[in-house]
């Protein structure tokens, strides 16, 4: 069985300072990992994904994440926060199901707040 733990339910940073959102996962297989962002009253948008290629993954809006197998982590970072980054962020692990479709397991979410 797979699971995802987002270690912080809320993170607050000042605009222009670095962002770190932590995620640990467990999976029986070599997983695919994703970060999704959800702005208030909006749907889910893919930020980036890891699918067993390069361990440092670059995403949209200046975000990146590093897959560390030894630590079973996939933390999300951004060098400099912008006010528009305030949103809920979900770390997601995916296993293939019967060679068709995915079985996505979502973390509990981290709410990022950005102070002016």
């Amino acid at each position: 069985a797979q699971s995802v733990t987002q270690l912080d339910s809320h993170v607050s940073v000042s605009e222009g300072t670095p962002v770190l959102l932590r995620c640990n996962y467990s999976s029986s297989y070599s997983p695919s990992l994703f970060w999704y962002v959800q702005h208030p009253n909006k749907g889910l948008q893919l930020l980036l994904k890891y699918t067993s290629a390069a361990t440092l993954v670059k995403g949209i809006n200046g975000f990146e994440a590093e897959f560390k197998k030894s630590e079973t982590s996939f933390h999300l970072t951004k060098p400099s926060a912008h006010m528009s980054d305030a949103a809920e962020y979900f770390c997601v692990v995916s296993d293939r199901v019967r060679n068709a479709g995915n079985m996505l397991t979502f973390g509990g979410g981290t709410r990022l707040m950005v102070k002016p």
């Binding site: 999704y36 749907g43 293939r96 479709g101 509990g108």
Partner: protein
Amino acid sequence: DTAVSQTPKYLVTQMGNDKSIKCEQNLGHDTMYWYKQDSKKFLKIMFSYNNKELIINETVPNRFSPKSPDKAHLNLHINSLELGDSAVYFCASSPTGEQEYFGPGTRLLVL
């Protein structure tokens, strides 16, 4: 626009009613999904269909019945709505084994 679309966007209804939420994707994907997001923002998969065949059915009450008339549509019908069904329901689609594209969500409130 190519996208995953859901209707309605908002649904307010009384306990005991039967309602449907529709989902359509014009991305040509083989697989479609329904997820439920509760008030604490926790997201959990409910169903997955691949080429109109049910492949994932998590422990969802049988009051929830997905229907896939064709590869581009996956509708969710809910019978005898209960207060605990209030949530945001997201539809998603993906090419086989690839990342999922999510719809905008349907906010269901059961009174």
